[in-house]
Amino acid sequence: MKNTISERVADFLKSFPPFNALDSKQLDILSMEVVILHKENNAIVFTEKEAPHEHFYVVNKGAIALTKKGSSQILDICDEGDVFGLRPLLAHESYKLEARAHEETILYAVPIKHFKPLALENKRVGNFLIESFASNTRNPYSIKHRGKLYGSGDTAEKLDPKILDLQPISYSTDLITCTEGTKIMNLATTMAKNNVSCILVIKDGLPVGIITDKDLRKKVATGECPITEPAKTIMSSPIITYPSELTLAQAQMAMMKSNISHLILTEDGTPDAPAVGLLSKHDVMVALGNNPAVLLRAIKRAMDAKVLRKIRHGIMNLLQGYLDQNIPIGLVSKIISELNDASTKRVIELSLQKMPSEPPVPFTWLTLGSQGRGEQLLNTDQDNAILFADVPADELEQTRYYFLKLASLISTDLNTIGFEYCPAEMMASNPAWCHSLWEWKEVTGRWINNPGPDEILLSSIFFDYNITYGDRTLADELSDSIFDHARMFPQFLTHLAGGALQNPSPSGFFRDFLVEQDGEHKDFFDLKLRALMPIIDAARVLILSHSIKSINNTAERYEKLAELEPNNKELFQACSYASKALLKFRTKQGLLHNDSGRYIELQRLNKEEKIKLKRTFKTIKEIQSLIEIRFQVKNLIR
């Protein structure tokens, strides 16, 4: 018995354990009983101490965050194909953690009633359940809870971060090897090709030596040993081996003890058994997951968007950690933007590989809006554009076609990573945002010459562009053209300033917060529209009026302005501070509620936070009046 939907469910489940151990008939029967659930962002699947449901869950799309109730620290993220909420059902106890949708999620709910007989019947399923209790380190960024099916220990004990060290560590099983006779130049090529820092020397199937980057540097690059020599001459031998069931702490200790950066893991831990894996210092760092440099390297090595998506969960953990430790937001936003940028860049590289041919002409990938300003700490929409070099008119559409195709690949992958599609389609995959240099000059020129409200809005999004990938000269040329136009039409700045003043005021007559009057966010404070936008818009118009390019970050813009106009130094510095404070505010709120942080529930702020917010309002009012006077906005017919 099956139908099109149950086939679809079965087709998904069959590639993930434990379902891959079922035969197709069993799977068909089980799939018929599945209920497909949709969970909106932050919707709770089950909560701590709740009685076990009749189903356990498999993530089909999206992600589920497991947390301890009342704590914002995410203990684990369940991704596509991960099983959760099974252990309590088997153990007949209540849930120990809270599961909530980390983003919009589709779950397959599998009834335990129908699964249990299969698990008892099928040895491989049973073994999986036991094994996944014993070890599971697929997600290196979190304390493991997934798959602990028969676990009996107290969960609270496992939550202690110190115990994290005792987690088994994941290592690479994809060994790069050579023989003793391999020439140094050949083995170095292999290492370069595989992008690894060490190579294992194998003799008769057993590991006999190891060659690392350090060996190449010390013994070869110095000229001590020519590149035509065999591997044997420079390898480190004998080797130190360890068993594969190593915990994080053991691995660190081993590396420190022997002062080495790579551990060779063999079947039984002795050098007389075949090597099963290699553990590098890098793996240890990734497992710790709290180092931006390591994350950056992991990004650069990622081979597809799904891996990047996992890394991004790590980035979010990092961000949370930074905010908890009160690290200056300027620094934090730089690091996070750098990581975001690297992810985007990696996506572009991967998408380029997928294209049937090389790009016909040089191009630049521009990120716009908040990401362009380096102020995007949480995942929000993707706003981007492509700028490509001029081509003869008859080749224009063909060239655009290529870049549109590229852009849609990139945009899909960015979406996989967690950047939502822009609801206004301001994306390079839209023909209106994929232009040649000449066309962009035309378009921006038109915005500047006829500054209606729409053009001002578009300019304010576009003019914060940042080059993420590709040819810098193209973007520079466009910037120059924009400044030339702006000089020729000074009214544009007036209009832009007018736009900056149009945002509704943050506080009312009695200096109380103005909240939204209706709609979905009734009685919430719109932090983006009422506080962030005015200060960002003001910075943009001021910096454009000084023809300063390539400073996009709002706080940095104000710092530059303070330098350029010493008489207004104090105000600009206050603005710089306010923009940082607001950004931090938004990020904290966003992390707390797992959303964009745009809307703030005032009742949940404490007194200190409210005072802090209000202090920035004063600065906003001051900078707005400066703009109003300087650009004579009053003269505009509004």
């Binding site: 139908n3 099109t4 939907i5 962002n41 799309k61 996989t416």
Partner: protein, 225 residues
């Protein structure tokens, strides 16, 4: 004349009266309490008079969940056959699937759909197709409320005069935007599934207040100033 009308009405089979009886009940206001029937039909072509339904696929959606067991899928025995459309839906004239006659298919569908809201991508086409079949079998038209995922999807996009946007969105477009796997595309139930998931994701974005609000949102936007 009225006598004739009444007489004809009286001839309607019992299953139709059962179906109609469901409409005495009002739809629940809360979206979560409503059952949505996502449906799709595979037909021999686009003509309401000439072409025939080959398959109806439907599934029920309630409070964000779909039970795999509780789906609807019937293949219909038809005399008319159009070889051109066969490559799209893959239903051959002499396929070995269990087929039923049109009247039985309609009867089963009415029993399944009750007074629930019908959801489809370009739902008017499917409803018209079913209505044409009902008419051929001497039955009145469907009485259900309908939701069109294309119209609703458009409401999730920002309204802006400055960005040019596509006017039409296919089910493929939606599947891509919402990253729904396009497996089983062009089977009635497969398309119904994509439509159902698309509806869920649209609801999350639109956040309608109640069922009336949701139905109203399909209409053109009115700007009140």
């Amino acid at each position: 004349m009225w006598l004739f009308g009444k007489k004809k009405q009286l001839e309607l089979p019992d299953f139709w009266w059962d179906y109609e009886a469901h409409f005495q009940q009002k739809l629940p206001e809360d979206i979560k309490e409503n059952v949505f029937v996502a449906l799709d039909t595979e037909t021999t072509g686009f003509s309401l008079t000439k072409d025939r339904m080959l398959c109806i696929g439907a599934l029920k959606l309630m409070d964000n969940s779909i039970a795999v067991k509780d789906i609807f899928e019937v293949y219909i025995e038809q005399e008319h056959y159009n070889a051109e459309s066969a490559p799209i839906h893959g239903i051959l004239k002499r396929s070995r699937r269990n087929k039923v006659i049109e009247l039985d298919a309609l009867k089963q569908f009415l029993v399944y759909a009750k007074n629930y809201i019908l959801v489809g991508h370009h739902v008017k086409f499917d409803v018209n197709m079913i209505n044409a079949a009902l008419q051929r079998n001497g039955l009145p038209k469907l009485k259900n409320e309908t939701l069109d995922t294309e119209l609703l999807y458009k409401r999730t996009l920002l309204v802006s005069s400055v960005v040019e946007r596509k006017e039409r969105f296919t089910l493929d477009d939606l599947a891509e935007k919402f990253s729904i796997s396009k497996k089983d595309r062009h089977t009635a139930l497969g398309d119904a599934y994509i439509t159902a998931i698309a509806l869920l994701r649209i609801l999350e974005r639109l956040k309608p207040k109640n069922i009336k609000d949701l139905i109203k949102r399909q209409g053109p936007l009115k700007f009140g100033l």
